[in-house]
Symmetry: C2
Subunit: 218 residues, 2 copies
DNA sequence: ACCGAATCTGACCGTCCGGTCAAGATTCCC
DNA sequence: GGGAATCTTGACCGGACGGTCAGATTCGGT
């Protein structure tokens, strides 16, 4: 058996796995699961190919490991902002800002997630149907709580989140399109500043968040 | 030379190519470019694999042909709605409705487009930088015309379109996620009705389209 | 009916790629 | 210091996949 022990704690182990995971995230995000080559991940990580298989067994298990990392961040961002203690305006604006920041500093993660969904989510389906569904249910309850207190207008909470995810992640997933359309003169700072302004405006005014409606009425 | 003549007009030719293109759109949309297998496209089309190569030469040329079809529809929908003759409310609502209809009846097209962008648009880059960029410029001019007449509030036109595309196409690209989160009780009619209501609301109120602001102020 | 062009097709090929393996190097623990 | 466990590595498979080809079949014009 070439399989490593279930839970070793060697330093070499940790370093190698980290390097492999980072290289894998890069290559999977550029090429997709099918397009990614183990040899390219190996080259990117600076380790021989056999080493990847020593630690992760198969391409699919390596991909799964990368996905789990991504999902953890995804859920953390939502949990940090969509909570009843926040006012709707700061919660939604903060969430949009945080998601755009993720899209900017770690676009590969968003792309891998997108690629997985595009393929019909063969590996992520259990997560989507169980944990994500539950989390969205909780987030929807927060929205409905705000609505009941008149802090936010009528809006279908789940769809509001679909739209927020779509708008924010598009700046990572389809970033080539954004850059091509805006042309070479648009630098990254300007793009993300305009993106945040636009998405925030659509979300806050589009869902009648109270403070903003007040501003609107002046 | 196995290459067919530049522009034959046989009936068999037309039928075979149609069948191949339809099968290719299906398979490319489910598996992506790298994941798609020529053998699967052949099986789906009911023709032997050698036939695909007779008409299209290579996998990449077949994929290109599918992409061109998709782009034509993409541009047509935009050209039909975002014109200065329309009032902003009907133009934007109509565009959203049309894009959601496309997402519903031809989700594979949207997914192929998304997959191409995800991979960095190796084949679509010229289109993005030339034709799409020009078209978005024209559409932005329409928005700015409305803004100058006070029919729509301040909004960055290009980003408004990025957001509209993101929100509408997410219902095709990430449809597994939508279904998983909403659960088995949500049928397609209900999903798309709620999607249209939500996206339209975000776009119209979020960009201060006049009619809607008036409604808001009552 | 005839003939060249167009279309179709099964069998085949070379390459690429995920995965394996066995032997060598290093680390860890007593 | 020694032996076992862990880690590293180049060389090597077997299957899958895009693409080819030569021969069979059909089509279109006269």
């Amino acid at each position: 058996m070439g399989m490593p022990p279930p839970a070793g704690a060697g330093a070499a182990r940790r370093d190698s796995m980290r390097a492999i995971l980072a290289a894998a995230e890069l290559v999977f995000s550029r090429r997709g699961f099918e397009g990614a080559r183990m040899a390219e991940i190996a080259a990117e990580s600076g380790l021989p190919k056999a080493n990847l298989h020593y630690y992760f067994g198969t391409k699919e298990r390596l991909y799964r490991a990368v996905l789990e990392d991504i999902i953890r961040q995804w859920l953390d961002t939502a949990a940090a902002w969509i909570v009843p203690e926040h006012a709707p305006a700061e919660a939604l604006a903060g969430y949009v800002r945080a998601k755009l920041m993720d899209a900017r500093v770690r676009p590969g993660a968003s792309r891998i997630f997108a690629g997985e969904l595009l393929r019909g989510a063969p590996l992520l389906m259990p997560f989507l149907a169980d944990e994500l569904r539950r989390r969205v249910g909780e987030m929807a309850a927060v929205i409905e709580g705000w609505a009941a207190r008149g802090l936010i207008g009528p809006v279908a909470p789940a769809h509001l989140f679909f739209c927020i995810w779509a708008m924010t992640q598009t700046y990572a997933d389809f970033d080539v399109q954004v850059r091509a359309v805006l042309g070479p003169s648009a630098d990254e700072d300007a793009i993300f500043a305009a993106a945040e302004a636009t998405v925030t405006q659509l979300v806050l005014h589009g869902s009648f968040v109270r403070d903003n409606v007040a501003i609107l009425n002046t």
